[in-house]
Each structure stands twice: as structure tokens, then as C-alpha cells.
Symmetry: D2
Subunit: 344 residues, 4 copies
């Protein structure tokens, strides 16, 4: 009953097998390995983007911060949701990598920026000439921090506003596969066809040891990204082990199957919760992450049963909100035991 984070899961056997295979013999370091050639081709095919620049890093924070630093100057504002991972969970990595860019925090229910709120922020930022920071970039997150998803059309509506000011658009796709599965979209539809210029294509939360791809659909800034990655200490000498993970992840659509399973477990959990009297969802549950609240007695029962999840700040009425995350390795037994323990 481990629902604290998809990060607490291990990795499927296919990934470890790939590491074993990759371990044979000698390989060129620093991204010059042969597996990376195949990974690049595969990701370009997945995104239907034959010219895209593809880079691998090992953490989501590195992927996001390096991508944003490449997209925005130090005096740029990065428009993002108030509760975005880049705003709340990266200890200021975007500010550090960009040499002091400012995050412009935008409100919106259930983790999603609304076009009106973005339009307002875009209109008022950078309107005072040299005195204020300039408009820099838009960063969206899908699956959002509230467990909801943007459809490609919703993304396109937001990027269109940003592009009206000439801004590049980034997608934090730490749970990209879950968002695809939830919306039934293709990778291209979710990204460049919807106005996204760069995506952090997550692997770690969906079954890898620690690999994320950063993909720029326009490769013009690929060399700058390479330099930023090296300078940030994120270029691996034994890069083949990153490549191997990503290759196995893509092969036979493993990544989509893993996410599909995680979403199914999330749905089973959400439905089960809704069937329990006194339990309410805080946000609509659309992928593999559920926010729900129930009585303190329920929390006590779950704790006694050894359930692991984030217990967020109490609501005014004393009820506490839990964050539950299902992963590729969550089982129906996990879900059902959790529900059973909560019901008491």
C-alpha cells in the first residue's frame, strides 16, 4: 500500500535487463554511445519530429531547469501555475540555472492555468519597459500537480496566448505518458502540434531508475543545451546506462503500457474512494494521482494498516487531504487493501 509517490516504486525487469545488455564491452562516453543514436531516432519517431534535438538527463529538476534556462533570458518571467513543480518542489533550480529568472505564478483551479489568468499575467508583465522583468517563457505541466490533465486543445489555447508575445513554451512532462493515456493523444498532438517548443519527457516516475529526455522541436538551441548540461554537471560519462534505460522504456511501447496500468490503478482507487461515505475528491482524478479527504479516523485506520501516502494540511473542517499516487507497480490488491483499510 505504497501510494506516497510513483518515485517510491522500483523499475520493471525490462529496464534492468537493458542495463545488463548495455554493460557489455567498452562504449564511448558523454553521449557518444551507439545506443543513444537509436534512442534519438526512436524519440524523433515517437514525436513525429525528425529534426528534434534529444538529450538525456537523470532528474526531472535538471530537465526542467536546463530547458527553461535555455528558453528564457535571466531577465525573463516564466509563467507557470502557482503550484507547479518548478515553483514549489525544485528548491529554486529554475532561478539558479537561468541566473535569476522570475517565476510568474498563475492561479487556476485544480492545477490548471486558465486562459484568462494567463492573458492577464502576460498583459501586465513586461509592460513597464526596462523597470520590470520581461516576458520569458510559458511552462505547463501535464499531468498537473493536482492530478488533472490538459487536453491538447487546452494546451494550444494557452500556448497561443504566449506565442502572441513571441514566447517559447515548455511542457513539464514528468508524467507525460500518463497524460497521453488519459487524453488519448499522440505525443505530437500533446506537444509541438499544440505549440510546445520543448518538453521534459519523464521516465523516472514511470519505471526508470533515473532518466528524463529533454526534447527541443527546433534544434537551433541544441548546442547551447549541451553546454548548459555539461556545465551543470548533468552530462554522464557512462552515458550508455541512461541510453539503455530509455531504449528499453520506448521498446514495444513499454512506457505507454506502464502508464496505462498506473492510470487504471488510479481510476480504480478513485472510484473506490468515491464509493465510501464521507470521502470526497479534492480534485478531479484524471490520471494516476488522487487527492481526496476523509475523516481523521480513516487516516488512523490506514496508518495502522501501514498505508503510505502524503497527508496534506488539514482543511478548515478538520478533514485532511491525502495525496495518493499509483504507479506501474501498483496492484489491484494494493488498491483494494487500501480501500478496505479506509472503510474500516
Amino acid at each position: 500500500m505504497f501510494f506516497a509517490s510513483d518515485n517510491t516504486s522500483g523499475v520493471p525487469a525490462e529496464i534492468l535487463a537493458a542495463l545488463n545488455r548495455a554493460n557489455e564491452g567498452y562504449a564511448r562516453g558523454y553521449g557518444g554511445d551507439e545506443i543513444m543514436v537509436r534512442v534519438r531516432d526512436h524519440l524523433r519517431a515517437v514525436f513525429d519530429a525528425p529534426e528534434a534535438a534529444v538529450h538525456l538527463v537523470a532528474t526531472g529538476t535538471a530537465a526542467n531547469a536546463l530547458a527553461l534556462a535555455t528558453l528564457t533570458p535571466p531577465w525573463g518571467a516564466v509563467f507557470c501555475h502557482r503550484h507547479a513543480h518548478i515553483a514549489e518542489d525544485e528548491c529554486g533550480a529554475p532561478e539558479f540555472y537561468s541566473n535569476g529568472a522570475k517565476l510568474a505564478l498563475i492561479d487556476g483551479a485544480h492545477g490548471k492555468i486558465t486562459p484568462a489568468a494567463l492573458a492577464e499575467a502576460l498583459a501586465t508583465t513586461g509592460a513597464s519597459g526596462v523597470h520590470g522583468v520581461q516576458r520569458g517563457a510559458l511552462s505547463l505541466t501535464n499531468v498537473t500537480e493536482a492530478g488533472t490533465v490538459y487536453t491538447p486543445a487546452e494546451i494550444a489555447a494557452l500556448t497561443k496566448l504566449a506565442k502572441g508575445y513571441g514566447l517559447p513554451c515548455h511542457l513539464d512532462g514528468a508524467r507525460f505518458a500518463n497524460a497521453l493515456m488519459a487524453t488519448g493523444s499522440t505525443p505530437a498532438e500533446m506537444t509541438w502540434k499544440a505549440g510546445i517548443d520543448a518538453v521534459s519527457f519523464g521516465g523516472t516516475k514511470n519505471g526508470l531508475l533515473g532518466v528524463e529526455a529533454v526534447i527541443f522541436f527546433d534544434p537551433a538551441k541544441a548546442w547551447e543545451f549541451e553546454l548548459r548540461r555539461k556545465r551543470g554537471g548533468h552530462l554522464f560519462s557512462k552515458h550508455r546506462y541512461l541510453s539503455a534505460q530509455m531504449e528499453a522504456y520506448l521498446e514495444h511501447d513499454l512506457w505507454l503500457r506502464l502508464a496505462s496500468h498506473a492510470n487504471a490503478m488510479g481510476a480504480r482507487l478513485a472510484q473506490g474512494l468515491l464509493a465510501i461515505p464521507g470521502v470526497a475528491l479534492t480534485h478531479p482524478s484524471q490520471a494516476n494521482m488522487i487527492f481526496a479527504n476523509w475523516s481523521q479516523g480513516g487516516h488512523a485506520r490506514l496508518q495502522a494498516a501501514g498505508a503510505m501516502y502524503y497527508d496534506l494540511r488539514p482543511l478548515p473542517d478538520g478533514r485532511e487531504t491525502a495525496r495518493l499516487v499509483a504507479s506501474w507497480s501498483t496492484t489491484t490488491e494494493d488498491v483494494d487493501s487500501f480501500l478496505s483499510a479506509l472503510r474500516g
Copy 2:
């Protein structure tokens, strides 16, 4: 015949086995895994430093740059050898992480800083009050970039000069195990007993997929380092896979056995080279890295035989210097085949 870098090697079976074991079940992320508790204890025992702060990162550049940024303010000068890895091979990572500290490059034959050169640099830096940068930190490298080693006594002589100005001292130990084996020293003798305050304890070049430990013997700055690591995107969510590598590395002195083998292969190679007429060593060969030069014909024969190594800039007499690195996976056959091809 792969002698380009110890980074082109794979990893021993023990390491992959450890990853497999670590993959079982769920684990707390971000360094909270149980394996890390054991790794911390083990490294403290190895260094005879029960209070030391121990952190894992995945690349040597991250280890060095984060350690130095923690030790020196932005207006500090980091004294290091002119050809140190931090000066030449990290694309400015130390400057980036420290927010603009300056590397004060010190000359010295065969990759080693001499006390006289360091004393001169220390005396002249920071002597102009607020106008110039201040003395910040000393950074030594062992094994050096020239394949030579410092003895603990030599390190102590240099750190004593730095400590005369109150400076913290860092050791880039990307090849720490090789330096230990070459000098017959203990980890404590090579570090805190010789005045070292923080060490980048390398694993990647000596058989890991990508793990380095950063150890501060005085834990006062441990929390600052944690924040810098997170902010730099170097805190792994599935941290257990770093911990597992390091645990297997330390177990049964695997790390020392791997380095001992690499050094033995380096010695075999050096001795074989010296026995070939017309071959000269550019630097004394003391660990697993050899710099030697020979005729262009020799290079041609090696190339034809498929040997891989760095071919450095030609000397004034037209001879070229090669850098050859032996690793844990180098075999006597590799060495002998190389020598045979060179002899022609």
C-alpha cells in the same frame, strides 16, 4: 584495447547484482532509503570519520562543483593546478555553481602543484583589499591529471599553506582508490589527516555506472550542501540506485581491488612501453594513467590494430603524446596486444 578512458569501461557484475537487489519493493526517495543509512556508516568507517557528512551524486563534475561552491564564496579564488579537471574539463561548472568564483591556476610539473608555487599564489591573491578576489579554497586532484600521485605528506604540505590563510581544502578524488593503492595510504591519511576538508570520492571511473560521494569531514555545511544539490538538480528521487551501487562498491573492499587491478595494468603497460625503443614517458606513471610519446608510425600501427586512446597535440619534434588509461576491466591481453601492435 580500449585505453581512451576508464569511463569507457562497464561495471563489474557485483554492481549490477546490487541494482537488482535494490529493485525489490518500495523505498523512500530523495536519499531517505535504508541502503543510504548503511552507505553513510560504511564511508564514515572507511574514512575513520564518525561525524562526516556523506552525500551521493551521479557525476564527478557535480561532486566537484557542488563541493567547491559550498566551500568558497562567489568572490573567492580557488587555487588549483593549471590542468586540473575543474579548470579544463567541466565547462566552467565551478564558476557556475559558485556564482562566479575564479580559478587561480598554478603551475607545476607533472600535474602537481609545488609548495613554492602555491605559496606565491596565496601571497599575491587577495592582497589588494576589496579590489581583487579573495582567497577562497584549495583544490587538489589525486590521481592528478598527469597520472602522478600526491603522497599524504605532499598533500599536507600544500594544505598547511592554505590553512595558514584559513582556507578550506578540497580533494578531487575521481581516481581516489587508484591514488590510495599507488601510495599505500589509508583514506584518512589521504584526506582529513592531511588537511583535506571535503573529498569528491570517485566511483564512476572505477567501476560504477555513475556515483560519486561528497564527504565533508566537518558536517557543519551538510545542510547547505543538501540545498545546493537539490537546487542543482542532483538529488535523485530513486536514490536507492545510487546507494546500492556505492554499497556494493565498498563491500568486501571491491573498490580497492578494482583500483589495484587498474594500477597493475597501468604498471604493466608503462613497463612494456619503456622497453620499446623510441618510446618515452611524458610523465612518471604512478597509477592507472600513462602519458607517453612515440613515432607517428607507431600511432599508425596502433590505429590499424584498432587501439583506442587519446592522441594529444604533437610535440615540437613531431612526436605525439598519447594518454592511455587502464581500468578495472583492462586485461593483460589488452595490454600485451597494445604493446605488440606498437612494436610492430
Copy 3:
């Protein structure tokens, strides 16, 4: 009828006379001039702070950004009002000088942070361990950006909350003298007696060509500030001209007389505005800065008469808000002509 900013005014004759006097002969550069010795003593006496560190810079942005960078680490959050000058009008200087600290924007009517809003922000920031930025510093502004003032008691209530978390507290006193006159406080009451650790003591808006003092009541960080100032290019070689301005500013309480006049002109303007039917104040007018709104016809009449002021964004009902700033050089004729033009 120049009410665009107190920055559009010139300087009183006393200041130019001081520059002339200071111009005699040779003087040590970089802050070593004899006038600076007297300025330091004078400011320590003004603030009843015999140990305070006193530094001069030429712009308010430099004063604020250097002070904050000295007080907070790069991973710190600086708590400030949503519309603070450091948030909106310095093009990200605080983020730049601090190497990426984050401004935590706090709401509050009329430019003033409320204790409840600050308490909430303090409680939620830094509560997620290494994942989020840490609590860094509190920065208040007096006179606020809305033309209102904090009393010393109000400041103390806010700094007490910050100090509950061990945070240093900064006061942006670009209009410090106006705030003193408006509240009838002493410099000590407004600063260290109310929990302020560092103050940007403004001179430029109140009659200098370009000088601000940065005062730290605990001198422990004085040398760090010196290095940051030099490194930021804000240490003047011919420093005597900054010292001379500040000396003349303090002499015979010139600074207080100038601010008193500016506040009186502000009050005259506010009272006059309130007497005009259809004119409303947007914020309470407490010092030398007035925010008011009136019909578009009024704006047209003022424009025709050559009045200069900031015309802010229209309110939902079509009325526009004006920002009017009185300065040491504003005359009663200026005020009365403005009111007359608006009345039509």
C-alpha cells in the same frame, strides 16, 4: 506641475555647494575619503547605532539588491509585498544579486503586508524540507508603493513574525525621510528598535543626485557587503562625491526638512483632490505620494495644461488612476495649478 516622480526633481543648492567644496584638492578613492568618516559618524548618530556599518551606493536598486543578497542565501525566499519595488521595478535585480533567491509575494491592502498574510506565508514556505526554497529574509518598504506608511509598531509586528523563524529583516527606505515625518518617529524607532537589521536609507528621491546609504545595525556582514558592492561595480573611485552629497543631506537636518515639505505638498494635493466632486483617493494618502482617480475629462484637462504624472490602468468603470508624487521642490503654486486644471 511635475508630479510624475520625486526622481524628476533636481537637487537643492546645498547639495551642489557640497560637491563644489568636495572638489578641492586630492582625496583617497574607493570610500577612503575623509568626508566618509564624518558621514559614517553622522549616520550612526542619526540612528543611535554606534556600531552600525554604513555604505554608500548610487541607486536604490543597488542598495536593495546588495542588502538582500547579503542577508539571504540563494535558496532563500524574500518575503515582500506583491507590489514592492524589489518585486516590480528592479528588473529582477534581487534575483540577480542573490544568485536566484525567490521573492515570495504577499498580498495586503494599500501596499501594506498584514501580519496574518505574512504568518501564512512564513508557515508554508520552507515546510517541505530540501524540496522548496527556505525562508530567507523579510523586506518591508516605507513609504510603501501605495503611498501609505507603516508605523514602527506595525513594522515591529511583522519583524517579530519573521524573527520567530530567525530571519533577518530589511527596510527599503527609498522614502525613509518621508515615512519618518509622516509617523513622527525617530530613525532608531523605525529600524532597529522595530526589528530591522538593514535599511536602504534613500537620498535620491529626496534631493540628492544619486546616493543611498545601506546600513547594517550588526556590522558582522560589513566586509561581505563591501565585496559584493565592489563586485557589482558599485564602489565609486571618486567616492568623495557620494560622501559629500550625503553629508550635506544630513547637515542641519536638511533631509528632514526636504521630506517635511514634500509631505506637506502631498497633503495639500490630497486635500485639494478630495474637495473636487468625482475625485476619489485609491489609497489613503499619508506621505508625498497620492493615488487618485477621476473622469477621463479631468485627465484631458490636465494633459492640456501640461501636467505630468503617471496615468495607471483604467478601473472597471472607465475611470483612470493617477499616481502623483510631490517632492522637495514642489511648490504650492504647482499644487494649486494642478487642482485648478483638474477642476476645469
Copy 4:
């Protein structure tokens, strides 16, 4: 007998008069003043560069660091003389403003980079792909830190090498007027006709209170510079006082007359020194700065006579090197008294 620095001098009456004139009435702030329009036109005419972007700042360090940050990315190497002001006397400002660019220090006798040394540095920097920093910019200084001057032809020879790699070229002209007078060149010949892209056009050392112009001959980066200047706290609200100084400086060639006088005093001093037995020049004296050495007895006599100058580190034979700087305000009596005191 003040020869410590041209920074210890005051300013000529014309400059103070200009401040007085500029003080009349109200003026737009932040560079929008009318005087700045004239200054821009005047400097464009002086440099025969009708499209140039012209900006004013108050210190030489700000001028250099902002210019270089605009010209080079954070991962760029700035090639400069080992003893350049940007390397030794700015407390790391170039590294700070550029977010960690590295200064590549080039040797050369008497403060001047030689083409061979520059060619070597250019060839070896950036030759290791992503691992090392990239070639960023060339920065020359004229008058050099050794008191020597580059001719336009010498500058052109160096910039040609840099431009072979596509690098922008900066000139630190803190003593630009002195260099012009010493070489008999025009501003255009010394700058853009010789391959210079941006110049720090010094005023402070040559008679201003504190104003330097930064001129980009290609205005493409003008807006970026504006943002960097504001963000660095170097945009003055009461900008008219900077403009006024610069306008008076240019008017009737005051700047050239001041520098001509300073150079003449330097020459008188150098000739006088050479006529004294036992006195030797350390560097050729070509402008207003003299490096010479003599016996300790001579230093004692000068000290007793109240002469002020920098007494640099003793030579191996015990003789000490003095740095003497003549300025616009140095008189023949100053020079002759100095020589007389030294002769004893």
C-alpha cells in the same frame, strides 16, 4: 604630489558648471533626459558611428562587466592580459555579471598581449568540445595597466585573430583619451576600424565625478544591455547628472585637452626620472602612467616630502617599483617637486 591614481583628482570647473546647469527644473528620469539625446549624438559623431548604441554608467567596473556580459555567454572564455583591470581589480565583476564566464589570462610584456600568445590561447581554448569553456570574447585595455599603449594597427592585429573565430572584441578604455593622445589616432581608428565591437569609454579617470559610456557599434544588443544595466542597479533615476557630465566632457574637446595635459605631465615625469642616476623605468612610459624603480632611500625621501604613489612589491635586488599616475590636474610644480624630492 599626488600620483597615486588619476582617481584621486577632482574635476574641472566645466563639469561642476554643467551639473549646475542641468539642475534647473524637472527632467525625465532613467535616461530619458534631453541632455542624453545630445550626448548620444555627440558620441556617435566623435566615433563616426551614426548607428552606435550609447549608454552611460557611473563606474568603470560596471562598464566593463556589463559590456562583457552582453558579449559573451556564461560558458565563454574572455581573453585578456594577465594583469588586465578586469582580471585583477574588479573583484570578479566580469564573472559575476556574466554568470561565471572564465577569464583566459594571456601573458605579454609591458601589459600588452602579443599576437602569438593570443593565437595560442585561441587555438587551445574550446578545442575539447563540450568539456571545456568555449571561446567567448577578446578584451583589450588601452592605455594598458603597464602604462603602455596599443596603436590601432596593434589592436587590429589582435582583433583579427579573435574574429577568425567569430569573437566579439571589447576595449577597456578607462584611459581612452590618453591612449588617443599618445597614438595620435581618432576614436574610430582606435575602435571599430580596428575591429572593436564595444568600448568602455572612460570619463572618471580623466576629470568626471563618475561617468563612463559603453558604446556598441552594432546596436543589435542595445536592449539587452539596457536590461542588464537596470538589473545590475546601474540605471540612474536622475540620469541627467550623468548626461551633463558627459556633455561637458565632450564639449570643445575638453576630454582631449585634459588627457593631453595628463600625458604631458607623465612625459615630464618620465623624462625627469630617467635623468636621475639609479632610476629606471620598469615599463616604457607612453601616456600618463609611469612605472619606475629606485633605491629605498629615494622612497624614504619622497615619503618624508609627502609624495603619494603606489609602492609595489620589491624587486629581487631590493629596489621597489613605484606606480605614478599623472592626471588632468597635475601641475608642472607637482612633477618638479617630486623629482626634486627624489633626487634629495
